[in-house]
Amino acid sequence: MKTSLLHTFSAALLLLGAGCGTAAHRIEPGGSQALITVRDVNTQDWQNVAARSIQSLLASGVLNRADGRKTVVMVSEVKDRTGRQLKTTILTNKIRQALLGSGKAVTTTAVGAAGAEDTATRQVRELENDDLFNQATVQKRGTVIAPDMSLSGEILREMTTSGRTEESYFVFHVVLTDLATGLAVWEQTFDFSKQETASILGF
């Protein structure tokens, strides 16, 4: 009798434990509570790569111009070769924010890898034949500034498995190209690895 009571109690406790979850709550992006998975690029990884790219780019001094003008940078393509459909704009948006904040460069939204990032620059010039608008307020043609440099990159992933252990190796390669010459004036590679060993029971 006592044994069956103990079994029932244990089973109830297990079910209770298995059913427990946590209510939705806010966490610090990239903080110690953030999820870390082997196969993906997680919040902390994006933050780390972006921060290191920014530090390296600002330290290099390549954004300095002899004429004192701010360098105009276009954000080109960051090729995702990981097969994970990464949101590469997480990286480029952080870099462009830092570039603007540095006071050394500005980014253009009038041109990008897949056309203009913001089509408004072209759209507003199409108002020049629209009599609804005061033509003196319509933006003129020939005023948009063309970029001096282009930011591009590539993300690669290599997976290795040995027994129950799985390891991923991510490589981020970021390049800044001088569009006058086509030469890469700054490039940097950032890499990191993550490893996980599955339990014997498989969960």
Partner: protein
Amino acid sequence: MKQSFLLLTAALLLLTGCQDTVNTVRNAETAARRQEVDYRYFSTDDFCRDRLQLIRIDRGTTPSGLLQVQATVHSARYGFWSELWSGLTGENPYHLAYKFDWFDEQGMRVETPASVWLNLILMPGETRFLQAVAPNERCRDFLLSVKEAE
């Protein structure tokens, strides 16, 4: 009794003997002219303070005129007891996170995507150099925060 003591000692020695520590050698007379920063250290974690030694902080200027700082830190987690403890707790290598915050001439914090917690994995006895560049020319001061990540 004696047998179990010997067995325990052997197990402990085996455990500590498995730890990899970093050994270094450098030129005795360094050529670099460093600008050392006089710093104020405020610690809320005695364990972290004892395990991670802050050797020095240097400052410099980038080619674009931005303030650059470098903190030299050293993992003091080596030696018999430290290795034993980190072996038992699985804290080898030592996982840390650090962050630089920047302040302008008025003492206001300057927002930048680079002011985030960055990972740092330290082997016992390893020396690392935590570098950061100010987000713009208005930055005059900095704050380096370090915490144990695991």
